[in-house]
């Protein structure tokens, strides 16, 4: 394949993902400059490695995986990994602990700003899986590909992430 058509097809696939990749990068890095570096590096890496991308497989998951791996090896990413072990996924059933505030009240008193803060406060591994699921609306399979984890882990981690988000929201509502 000559270089030009290859770049063309890369561009056709990668350009539509730009905004959402940036949003994801900003949530991971938590600041604009670093998010821009992440996205730029992701696009450069993806373009370089595009020949290794298998046509027919999930391009979006491939791009997010590159972005995430880039983040994990960045300074901020390494720090985040230090604070929370990324692989200590427990049994999902163990964390279904929705005691306290009933769901309906939780929702009534939550607002967007509060949810934003709660997302920022979440450990990276919960934040990223919630974003992939709720914001990017990825399937479990896509999330599994992106995060390079089994589908079972996707389910348990998602469950823990949702529980953690609810806990954070409850705290915020209590403190308000």
């Amino acid at each position: 394949m000559s270089e030009a058509p290859q770049f063309e097809s890369f561009e056709a696939l990668a350009v539509p993902l730009f905004d959402q990749l940036y949003n994801f990068a900003h949530w991971l890095a938590q600041n604009r400059a670093e998010a821009e570096d992440l996205v730029q590096e992701t696009y450069a890496k993806a373009l370089r490695g595009f020949s290794s991308f298998q046509p027919g497989t999930n391009f979006r998951a491939w791009m997010y995986r590159i972005l995430r791996n880039t983040f994990l090896t960045s300074r901020t990413g390494l720090q985040a990994a230090k604070t929370v072990g990324l692989d200590d996924d427990g049994d999902a059933s163990a964390v279904v602990s929705d005691g306290g505030t009933p769901e309906t009240i939780l929702i009534e008193r939550s607002n967007q700003k509060m949810v934003q803060e709660a997302l920022s406060d979440l450990p990276v591994k919960f934040r990223e899986i919630l974003l992939l699921c709720e914001v990017e609306e990825m399937s479990y399979q896509e999330i599994a590909e992106t995060l390079s984890i089994p589908i079972g882990t996707v389910m348990s981690r998602l469950s823990r992430a949702r529980a953690a988000l609810r806990d954070l929201l409850r705290q915020k509502i209590k403190n308000n």
Partner: protein, 245 residues
């Protein structure tokens, strides 16, 4: 199945990841159980909040430009296309420019031919009637804002009939009429800056008239006559030589 068992699957259900059978059962249960329906609704609302809150950041236009249209990367994709588009436009523009130049040149030659014919058809073809160049040249002084030399015609078969003021596109210039055998030839002289000089070159025949033009010392000379091109060239050489005196 008890509600606790359903609620354990609520997220998976809302994620659309239950099997088709389970999804159908869940749908039926939610329709019949107010408590589970309320939980599901609350869950959906929270998800919507997360979805909205999660879409907080948009790339700046600058950054988008930097990543998506770097010149270097664009090259294989767009540079050639751009270059060829630019090329086509350039060619089109130059062709139309050349076309315009041609049209304008034809127009000027046409006007000069008209002036020549009009002068010859007039009852007074010339305002200063003299075969003496030393009479004709001073007559133009004060009438046109430039000066020129007239050739010595002794030992040639040309003779000077006279001169008149002529106007080309409202610009005053000199028109000299020469006679060669039975033919009359007009020589027009205009200030160069007022006539598009790059348009002209060489002798040519058009509409039955031979025409020649050149530029010298800031003056544009045109010769129009119904003689052969050779005669026109001889006259032009005489005039050119005269300017060097």
């Amino acid at each position: 199945m008890a509600c606790e068992q359903w609620s354990a699957k609520l997220d998976t259900y809302l994620d659309g990841e239950l099997s088709a059978d389970e999804t159908r059962s869940f749908d039926a249960h939610v329709r019949s159980c107010a408590g589970c329906a309320a939980d599901a609704l609350a869950c959906v609302q929270l998800r919507n909040l997360v979805r909205t809150a999660g879409r907080s950041f948009t790339p700046s236009p600058d950054f988008r430009m930097r990543v998506l249209s770097p010149k270097r990367k664009r090259k294989p994709l767009f540079a050639w296309a751009l270059a060829s588009v630019a090329g086509v436009i350039l060619i089109a523009v130059s062709l139309s420019f050349v076309g315009q130049q041609r049209a304008r040149r034809a127009q000027i030659f046409g006007e000069l031919a008209d002036l020549h014919i009009a002068a010859l058809a007039s009852t007074n073809p010339v305002d200063v009637v003299s075969s003496d160049r030393h009479t004709v040249k001073p007559w133009f002084e004060g009438r046109i804002p430039f000066s020129f030399n007239l050739p010595e015609l002794q030992n040639t078969d040309f003779s000077l009939v006279g001169g008149r003021i002529s106007y080309l596109e409202q610009i005053p210039g000199a028109q000299l009429i020469y006679r060669l055998r039975k033919h009359q030839i007009s020589v027009f002289i205009f200030p160069d800056r007022d006539v598009p000089t790059s348009l002209f070159g060489g002798a040519r025949e058009r509409t039955g008239f031979s025409q020649e033009t050149w530029s010298e010392h800031g003056l544009r000379y045109f010769i129009v006559g119904d003689t052969g091109a050779d005669d026109i060239t001889r006259l032009s050489n005489l005039l050119k030589r005269a300017q060097k005196q």
